[in-house]
Structure formats: structure tokens, C-alpha cells
Amino acid sequence: MSVLLDVRALEVRYGGIVALRGIDLHVEEGEIVALLGANGAGKTTTLRAISGLLPVRAGEISFAGASVRRRSPDAIARLGIGHVPEGRRVFTRMTVRENLELGGYAIASHRKVADRIDEVLAIFPRLHERIAQRAGTLSGGEQQMLAIGRALIARPRLLLLDEPSLGLAPLVVAQIFEVLRDIHKRGTTVVLVEQNARAALALADRGYVLRNGEIARADTADALARDPAVVAAYLGGE
């Protein structure tokens, strides 16, 4: 396996406040990596820095061997990093189909985009039923599927997922995780930020625990799931 994403000594600030200090992490081709941590630990900030939405103060981010640190978000997206942001952020006033078409914005061929939309609709039959509806009328779970589907159209090599289960009912969460497993099987590398640490670790190969903008721990998913400190802080006793 080769390293697909390599983040070194990443530092991000808001005004004077240091949000990330010296984050080191890497993701190998074909892996699922989970980022865990409390709210405010810097998980979302890490993802947003990787995809270029936040300016990086120091450190290096390289994707498939090339630096992406100074690139704009759209350029990074075109390089093959898909990002499903927190809160889904679908285009609510556009139809489901238009949302998916925009997912293929960087693809020149109409034909190709249409084919890929068919593929995504096969993964999410619910979206097929709602294809002509405005995205704003979808339920939370459907919007999450649309957000993932939109990112998949571009066939990203790396998919960043930010809290895909947030605010969703247990049944829907299970469906979403099923889909993630499926996407991964088809060869997409995944970085997953998840509040639902138990489910995330069950799916992931490895995980990082963030605390106050730093990597507090890095290990295999199994080891993290068994670690009493991690269990107490992020998994909760049941």
C-alpha cells in the first residue's frame, strides 16, 4: 500500500487562536481512517484544512505525492479529494438531479456524468424516487445520502466525511454506514469524522484521537476500541 494523504505539522489559526497545532497524520490508499475527539478538538478544522477551505498557517499537506497546501478548494476537489461537509450542505433550492450534476462539475463529458449519476442512484434508490424534487424538501437522512452521492460522482480517490450520522435516527445511521462500507469496498479511501465513535471504529482500519488541536493518540481501530481511556472518553459505558 502507498500513502495517499500525508499531513505533517499542520497548524491552523483563527485570528490569534491556534485551532490545530502540529497535526501529523497519514492515510494509505484503500484505508478507512477515523478521526475521533470531543467537540472543538479540531476534527472538522482538519478536514477543512485538507480540502483547502481554511488557510494553513504552517505544515504540509500532500496528496498522491503532490503538495496541495496552497491550492484552492476547487483545485483540490479536482485532484480527487471529495469532501462531504458537516451539516450536509446540499444545494437546497436545486433538484436532486441538479445537485448530482454539480457533483460532476469538473467532468467535461455530459455522457459520463449521466452514467455516474445512474451508478449513484443505484447505490441510493431513495434518491432515484426523489430525483426531480428540490433537495430542501428531503429528510435529513436523504440529504445526507445526496451529499455523499454528490461527492461520489467525481469518483474521488479520497473521501472526507464529516459527521455523516449527525442528527439521524438509528435506523438511518445504520443505512449510511452500510453504504460507506460498500463505497470502501469499491476502492475509495475514506477519512471519517464521527461523533458516533463506536460505529466509526467498527468500520475503520485505524484511528486518530484529537484533543485541543493535537493528535493525542494514533492506533489501529481495534486497539482504540479496546483502550479503556478511549472507551471512557468517547465511547461511553453501556
Binding site: 467537540n39 472543538g40 435529513g140 449527525l166 442528527g167 461523533q195 471512557a232 459505558g237 453501556e238
Partner: protein
């Protein structure tokens, strides 16, 4: 005695029926849970209770008063306060100021008092500030009273929003997914906070997805699905209800 009563409440958005013929009674002093899949109409229900939307059919009464046609601020006067799923704090104001706004209805100072900084204005301001500090202590927001709300950690913001709602001394407190985004230890603190709130005499109705928390905290639970109430009962009754498992839980929890 029933504090909150809904009878045959229906709400439509165009062709979509968001709530259909919902009946519900919440006893004074209860901790009552509302669960259901996304889009089942839970938040819509809260929004009807605080007149963000108007209901199309049925009736809703709070403390025996019908709220049909009342505005949001009139309903607040009936003793209803709430929190929001996606936190709606006054971000560019201190934690203290947030809670003091919550005390609005307890104060009398009018526009003349405001212009002249009258004795009443000054007295009430001191009193309001003292109460606000007390409330912040009660919910566990200490040492950051002067910080802007937007700079507080997420868990603290959630508690601050509860403090703001409590500042009005509500009879009925509506909590919309209070545990969303909290880690396990914060959730435990939340459970004891909500119990403490109830012990001060308020009635609590909450929407929540965290089954563990709901089952642990609520005495009664109603389940919504596609705008209809499909079950209501004790946590155990709800957990074992076949329609609930089918529509929401997926597998026996």
C-alpha cells in the same frame, strides 16, 4: 394535571402533511420524550408549540390556555421556553448577557426607564445580573461569564442555551436534541441537569435521538413517524413496540 395538551393537531406544508391528527398530553412535572425518524415531524411539533408555524387543524393548550393565534412572544409569556436543535445563541454577546435576555419577561423597565437610566432600570439590572450568574452556576457554566457565547466550547454553549431558557422561569421547557454533539461524559451531566431542572418544578419535553439517554431520563415517550404518533408509553413499552422497532430502531435496542 395536564400542562400541555394537543388534540387532533394537523400541520401541512403544501401537499406534504408534516403532522397528522396528533394527540398528546404531558402532565405537570413530567420529563417527556419525543422520538422518531428524521422528518417525522418532531421539530415541526415544537415549532407549532412556539408559533413559528401555525397549525391547520386541532387544538393546543398550555396550562389550560389555547395557543391558537398567539404569537411566539405571547406564548413565551405563558411560561414556555425552548432550546434549538442548532443552537441559537446571541454569539456576539457575553454568556451573562445571553442569560439576562432570557430574563426579559421578569423585568418591568420600560422605554422611559431605559432613556433615563432610572432607579428601577438600575435596580432591575443588578438583580438580573445576580440571577443570571446564579443560573450559570446552576447549569455549570462558570469562569466564562464575560466571554462571548460564540467563543465557548460546544458543550458549554448547549448548557448556556438551557440557562437562557431557564432564565424566564418557564413552566414548560422544550429541549430540541439537547444531547446532540455531546460526548458521553457531557451526556451524563446533561441527564442530571435535566433532572435538577424538573425538581425545581418545571415540566420538560425533549426531542432526542440518543436512545440510551431518552430511555434513562424520560418517564413517558411518544414516537412519531411520518407525522403520526405511532406509539406512546413508558420507555419499556416503547422499546418493545413492534411499529417503533420497524420504523425507527431497526433492531431491538
Amino acid at each position: 394535571m395536564s400542562l400541555l395538551g394537543l388534540a387532533g393537531v394537523t400541520k401541512r406544508f403544501g401537499a406534504l402533511t408534516a403532522l397528522s391528527n396528533v394527540n398528546l398530553n404531558v402532565e405537570e412535572g413530567a420529563i417527556f420524550g419525543i422520538i422518531g425518524p428524521n422528518g417525522a415531524g418532531k421539530s415541526t411539533l415544537f415549532n407549532l408549540l412556539t408559533a413559528i408555524y401555525r397549525f391547520d387543524e386541532g387544538s393546543i393548550s398550555i396550562g389550560g390556555v389555547s395557543i391558537a393565534g398567539l404569537t411566539t412572544q405571547r406564548i413565551a409569556r405563558l411560561g414556555v421556553a425552548r432550546t434549538f436543535q442548532n443552537l441559537r445563541l446571541f454569539g456576539n454577546a457575553s454568556a451573562l448577557a445571553n442569560v439576562m435576555v432570557g430574563e426579559h419577561l421578569l423585568l418591568q423597565a420600560n422605554i422611559v426607564d431605559a432613556l433615563l437610566n432610572s432607579a428601577r432600570e438600575r435596580r432591575e439590572r443588578l438583580e438580573a445580573e445576580r440571577r443570571a450568574r446564579e443560573l450559570l452556576r446552576f447549569v455549570g457554566v462558570v469562569g466564562v461569564e464575560e466571554h462571548f457565547a460564540r467563543n465557548l466550547s460546544y458543550g458549554t454553549q448547549r448548557r448556556l442555551e438551557i440557562a437562557r431558557a431557564l432564565a424566564a422561569r418557564p413552566r414548560l421547557l422544550l429541549l430540541d436534541e439537547p444531547a446532540a454533539g455531546l460526548n458521553p461524559s457531557e451526556k451524563l451531566e446533561l441527564v442530571s441537569l435535566i433532572r435538577a431542572i424538573r425538581d425545581t418544578g418545571a415540566t420538560v419535553v425533549l426531542i432526542e435521538h440518543d436512545m440510551g439517554l431518552v430511555m434513562n431520563l424520560c418517564e413517558r415517550i411518544a414516537v412519531l413517524d411520518y407525522g403520526e404518533k405511532i406509539a406512546e408509553g413508558s420507555p419499556r413499552e416503547v422499546r418493545e413496540h413492534p411499529r417503533v422497532i420497524e420504523a425507527y430502531l431497526g433492531a431491538p435496542a
